[in-house]
Structures are given as C-alpha cells and as structure tokens.
C-alpha cells in the first residue's frame, strides 16, 4: 500500500505548479474576470500542448491514458491558482464520452478535446435544487429518427464557450445522456453573472432542440459517473483553493505585527491556522483516496466520491473564510487576492452535487 504520489505524479504536480505560477498569476485571473469570454484561448492551447486536456483520454485520441489521480493533481493546482478555465467540465465530459459513448462520438470529440480544439461541459442541474435522476424534467422525445429535447438546464459551467454539452434528459423509463452541440436548432445559451467571475455559468434552454438519434450516449450509468467524477474534480479544485488560502494566512501571520509581535505568535491566530491545516490535510486524504478508488473501480469508490465532496465543501469554505479572518481588514478588500480563492471554493460547493446531496447518498449506501 502506498498513499504517496509516484515520481511521475510528483513531476506533473511540480510542473503544473511552475506553469501556473508563471502564466496564471492573480493579475491574469483578474484580467480574465473582466473579459467577456472569461477564459483564454491561448492558455487553453498551452494546456493542450502540456498534455493536460488529454491526460485521462486514450492514446489513440491523442491522450496519455492516465487516470483520475493525475487529473485531480491538475485540478488541485488549477484551484490553487483560481484559474478561470473550463478544464473540469471539459475533462469530465470527455471522460464520460470515452467510457459511455459510441465510436463516432469518441472520434468526433476526444481528439478535439485532447488537442485543445474543443471545450465541453455537463448540464447536471435544472430549476429545482434536486440532484436525483428521477427529478429531471427535461424530456427527450424520439421523432422521425431525431431526438427532440425540451427543458431548461441551469447553472451549466462554461456553456457559453462549450462545443458540446452533455445533457441528461428523461427518455422513456430511465434518464439518458445526450451530446448536444449548442449550434443545434432550438438550443440557446444565456450567460449569468455570478459571484466568482472565474467560473462562468449559463442557462441552457432546450426549446424543442433537435439532435440526431446518435447523440445519445448508448451505455447507462453516465449520470452517476458524471456526478461522482465531477464531485472528486470539484473537491480537488476546492482543496487547491483552500491550500492557497492557508499558505497566504500563514505567511501573513508571520509578518503582520500588532501589539509589538507577529500575530502568528498569538495562540488565537496560531490555533486557527493549525485547525486550517488539519482541514486541508484531511481534505487532501479525502480527495486522493476518492480519486484512486474511482480510478481503480474499488468497491467504495462511489462512497469515497461523496465523502470527498461532502467533507471538502465544508472544510474549504471554513479554511478560506478563516484565512480572511486571519488577515483582518486587508482580506476584505477587492485589491487583496484572497477572495479569488475564497470565491472559487464557494462557487464549486453547489455544483456536482452539493454536500447535502452527497451526505444523503452516503447514508443510502451505508445505512440500509
């Protein structure tokens, strides 16, 4: 048994850290906050060249056939940089297409994603705050060899830049997932303005949207897959944001003086920082256990994914908030960078299954 990163995984982490420290500084993040599109095509192409976009995709699609642990490593680093990027939903959708899609869907999307030519996303929410598959209101009706989709998907991350959106819809007895191109007739994407301008959300309206029957992902299980892997990806990103906030708080507590001493020498501050580290370390254990368990089809993989999302949601909110508290007034200013990470952690909380939903999933699994 070995819980530590392999040499290759450590190398990936180090190189991601170095790249993001140089190319996604807080000033870059702020510039993208003000950008109407909200993300950078140059950065996306660079990520493709670094092999990040195809990390978990098969080699024949231009990927490196690595697993969820490697993806989580990058997601943690992206969270640490509060990087505005559709990385998470794109990689998530591509992994689902790889696992559940047809040969045609794979050849259409996977090389394009790995090469940086396409972005993707997943539409997991509707108007009701309900994550259960049976609550899906969007309908898929077959009509003359086509599928007609009707419904409204809410809070879809990065839909305004996506080339394909995975849309779950009620199709007969069970929900199915469809790969929908926003250019299809009847699809409209309306961007929303939200608290974290580094994570753009849109409403996707399917007003009799007509897609070919082949848009359906043929194997079942895609919805659970998206929720589980999305939960771990989001948790990894929240972990990164929390670690950044902890680092900033500790650095600040070492130099900020009040009453003639660095505030970090006061137990009130030091103990808060120790609690923050505890939350961050436990979050790390939760994220990478879940990533490993899902990647290796361990029996408790789905449970671990819910544990990670439920735990890290609470822990990262607390750590990022406490970092503001340690900083005092400066942490409340727009100019200071803490809120970049604070907002990213918070923005991911209600996505990919909120903590309440994942806690309910846990109870369903362990208390029958």
């Amino acid at each position: 048994m070995d819980f530590s990163f392999s040499a290759d995984q450590q190398l990936l982490k180090n190189s991601a850290r170095a790249f993001l420290d140089e190319h996604v500084k807080p000033a870059h993040v702020r510039a993208l906050w003000d950008d109407p599109r909200g993300e950078s095509d140059t950065l996306w192409k660079e990520m493709a060249q670094l092999g990040w976009l195809g990390l978990a995709l098969p080699e024949d699609a231009g990927g490196s056939a690595l697993g969820l642990v490697e993806t989580a490593i990058l997601q943690e680093e992206l969270g640490r940089a509060a990087c505005p990027s559709p990385y998470l939903p794109t990689v998530l959708a591509a992994m689902a297409i790889d696992r559940f899609g047809t040969a045609a869907q794979k050849s259409r999307w996977l090389p394009a994603v790995a090469g940086g030519g396409a972005r993707a996303t997943v539409a997991l929410m509707e108007r009701e705050l309900d994550w259960d598959a049976r609550s899906i209101q969007t309908r898929a009706d077959e009509s003359g060899g086509k599928v007609v989709l009707t419904g409204v998907k809410q809070f879809v991350p990065w839909a305004h830049v996506a080339d394909v959106i995975l849309v779950p819809a009620a199709a007969g007895a069970a929900p199915a997932v469809f790969a929908v191109e926003p250019s299809a007739p009847g699809v409209s994407v309306t961007p929303l303005t939200s608290m974290d301008p580094g994570l753009r959300l849109s409403t996707v309206t399917l007003d009799g949207a007509t897609v070919p029957a082949e848009a359906r992902l043929p194997s079942s299980g895609a919805l659970e897959f998206l929720l589980q892997r999305g939960a771990v990806g989001a948790a990894a990103e929240m972990l990164g944001a929390a670690r950044r906030c902890l680092d900033m708080a500790v650095d600040y507590a070492k130099v900020r003086e009040q009453f003639g001493q660095p505030i970090g020498s006061f137990q009130a501050i030091r103990h808060k920082c120790a609690d923050m580290l505890l939350d961050v370390e436990n979050s790390f254990s939760a994220v990478y256990y879940a990533a490993w368990a899902l990647a290796n089809d361990a029996e408790d993989g789905p449970l671990a994914a819910s544990v990670a999302k439920a735990y890290v949601s609470d822990a990262s909110r607390k750590v990022c908030g406490d970092a503001i508290q340690v900083h005092g007034g400066i942490g409340f200013t727009w100019e200071y960078d803490l809120h970049l990470y604070f907002k990213r952690a918070k923005a991911l909380e209600p996505l990919y299954g909120d903590a309440d939903h994942h806690r309910e999933l846990i109870v369903r699994r362990v208390a029958r």
């Binding site: 048994m1 642990v69 500790v250 030091r270 120790a274 362990v366």
Partner: protein, 403 residues
C-alpha cells in the same frame, strides 16, 4: 499511489482473523490472571511485540502488519493485551535508550506480561507544562531517593514497574534538569490510589512516592536526558492504532443505524427522518476521512518515514472527531443513549460483544472527553502544529523570559 494491500499482507490478515475467531475469549476477563493469560496466548501466537526487533523477542514486523493486527482485534472485539504501555512504548524506549543490562533484565518480562508497567509522567501541577514537574530524585551515592506525586497513571494499581520522570537538578533550565528512571512499584515508599473518573470507572491512579528507592542501574540514559527520552516515548504514543480506532467507530456506527431503524418519531423510524439522515451522513463522511488519513500515515510509516510533528495532526483530528461523534450519537438516541442499565437491548452499544463486555453509549461519550486532554491536549497539539509544521513564531512565554 496504490492503496491495495499486498498479497502477503492480505494473507496475514486472513491468518490473523482466523486465529482471533478461534481464540478470542467468549466471556469477560474478570481477574488479573485471566487477563495475563490472554496476553500470554497472544504472545505465544506471535501477536504481541510485533514491532519489536527480533533480537529482543519481537517479530520485526512492518507497520502495516501491526495495523492489521490492531484492526482485526478491533473487528473481533478482542480484549487488549494487558501490558499495553509496556509493549507500546516503555519496552521500545528501553530498546533505544537502555543499557544492555537493562534490556536483559526487563524486556522479556514486558513481552510476556510477567511484569506489568505504567508511566509516571504527569503531576497535579504539571499537565500540559510537563517539564515543570516537581518530583525529585536525589543522588544518595549507591541509589536515588524519590519523593513526589504522579497522577493519571494508567494501570498503576496493577503495575510492577513504572517509567518515571523526576527532577535531578533544580538549578538548570527546567527541560535540562529532568532524568528518566525505572521505578519498582512494589516497595513501601510507593502508594497507589485509584482515581475515579467522570465515567464512574477508575482506569487511572494517583501515585505517591515517599522516600522510594531507585537503583543506580535503573537510570535510563544520562542524568538530565529525561526530557529528550520522554519525547521519544510520547512519539510512540501518537498515530499507532489509527485504523483500528476507525474500525471501532464504524462498528458503533452500525449499532447506531440499527437503533435508528427501531426507534421511532412520528410513527416512522428515525432512520427515515431527513434531519437524522443528514447528521448520519455528515458524521460518516468525517469518519471515513479519519480512515483515509490513517492510511496515509500508515503508508508513510511503511516507507520508513516518520510523520514527526505532523503526528500532532492525527492526534488532534481523531480526538476532536471522537467527541463530535459520540455527541452526535447521543443526540440521535436521546435518553436511550444515556441509559446504562435497564434500557432497550436494541439501543445499547455493544450487545453481541464476543468478550461479553457490555459497553454503553454513555461510557463512550464520557470517555471521549479524555482524548483531547491526554498525551498532549488539543491546545498543545495546535501549538506544536503552529510552531513546528507551519513555522509560525513562538509565543512569548513567562518561563522562557526568566530563563
């Protein structure tokens, strides 16, 4: 990263489980002799002193194998070996710091539980500030004379020997004037009084030493090296049984779920109450995270790395969790969780204990208060984390200013 057990470790787990199924006592061990016999049985089967080097009668086993045995014992609800402190860290301390003669004299009898050991560290006025301890050991030429009082001595009433910290030089800085000794508990100058705790039981004692005698040959290490030696000892105390601990939490969780199926509110089982479900989900997530964190530490130990000061994170994490955990159990169970006798069988904690020991939610709830105090309180752990892990500046302390 690979979290699978090796085939060898899986086989070892199987063997351990089979042995425990065949050997765990079916009735409560009431007398000291019964408990000693159980320790002997485990020792003869090779399950005691696993981590000790082979040359001292141990198994030289990996941290993983030790964790497996602890975990399987938790699963089988097996009674702990009686000489836990002796095996867990007093023996290892003698192995690291003791003379050859000390090793010859003491180690074998620790392993076999022929002699039972306790730890004489804390004092009434020296809790978190252990280095301020006042028990004195005076050099009387051919022996040391010990006077003072110790408290929180676990197993003191059944112990033959104790590992003792006492002040040998009051004129140097407080950490430098402490020495470490092996004290014979069976002598007229040593009086042991049980200390009844909030649980109603008395696992701990007070120990009064009045002109107690320690042989010159029973000094461990050098004079004045006691504090340094105590750090090794406290290091052994942290992080060892984390996986087994989570296994015990998990079996309590199963009991809680069973109770929540049978107890009702508004005509429906508690388990169907959304508020109860939310609480269960939250506590289960926290418990699983304790398990993942324990695996992470185990993986470190397995590679020969020491978690060092980071083991304070483990201790802080599980002890604070344990309090929240049993608070939540009692919250869900209401008065059923507080009844220790005469309540409903289905709401009690441990009805099918193979050892016949009936535990109660109330006992677990009360006992959880100890975890954040013993072996370095949560506040001390946070100081350690702040200073040694995060590198935050030390606080200005009155005793440092004076020195």
């Amino acid at each position: 990263m690979d979290l699978n057990l090796s085939p060898e470790d899986r086989a070892f787990r199987e063997r351990t489980r089979t042995w425990l199924e065949a050997n765990v006592p079916r009735t409560e061990l009431k007398t000291l002799e019964e408990r000693r016999a159980w320790h002997r049985r485990m020792f003869d089967a090779g399950y005691v002193g696993l981590g000790w080097p082979k040359e001292y009668g141990g198994q030289g086993a990996s941290p993983m194998k030790m964790a497996i045995v602890a975990d399987e014992m938790a699963r089988a609800n097996a009674p702990a070996p009686i000489n836990g402190l002796g095996i867990g860290f007093i023996g290892p301390t003698i192995i690291i710091h003791g003379t050859d003669a000390q090793k010859q004299r003491y180690l074998k009898k620790i392993l076999s539980a022929e002699e039972i050991w306790c730890q004489l560290y804390s004092e009434p006025n020296s809790g978190s500030d252990l280095a301020s301890l006042r028990t004195r050991a005076e050099d009387r030429g051919d022996h040391f004379l010990v006077n003072g009082q110790k408290i929180w001595t676990s197993g003191g009433h059944i112990s033959d020997w104790g590992i003792l910290l006492a002040r040998t030089d009051p004129h140097v800085a407080k950490h430098k004037g402490i020495s470490c000794f092996l004290l014979n508990m069976r002598q007229p100058g040593v009086e042991v009084r049980p200390l009844k705790q909030i649980t109603g039981s008395a696992e701990f004692n007070e120990v009064f030493m009045t002109n107690a005698r320690v042989e010159k040959s029973d000094l461990i290490g050098r004079l004045g090296q006691g504090w340094e030696i105590a750090q090794t000892t406290l290091g052994f105390e942290r992080g060892g049984n984390s996986i087994a601990r989570v296994t015990r939490y998990a079996s309590a969780f199963d009991r809680l779920v069973e109770a929540a199926k049978k107890l009702k509110r508004g005509g429906k089982p508690l388990l169907e109450d959304p508020v109860v479900r939310a609480k269960l989900g939250r506590v289960y997530a926290e418990m699983e995270v304790q398990r993942y964190a324990a695996l992470r530490v185990l993986s470190m130990l397995q590679k020969g790395d020491s978690p060092g000061a980071a083991s304070s994170i483990t201790k802080l994490s599980y002890s604070e969790f344990e309090k929240r955990y049993y608070e939540l159990c009692l919250e869900i169970l209401g008065p059923y969780g507080q009844v220790t006798d005469g309540g409903l069988e289905e709401s009690s904690l441990d009805v099918d204990s193979s050892s016949g020991v009936r535990s109660s939610w109330a006992y677990a709830f009360l006992w959880a208060r100890a975890g954040t105090i013993y072996s370095g309180s949560s506040e001390i752990q946070k100081n350690v984390i702040g200073e040694r892990v995060l590198g935050l500046p030390k606080e200005i302390r009155a005793d440092r200013v004076k020195a």
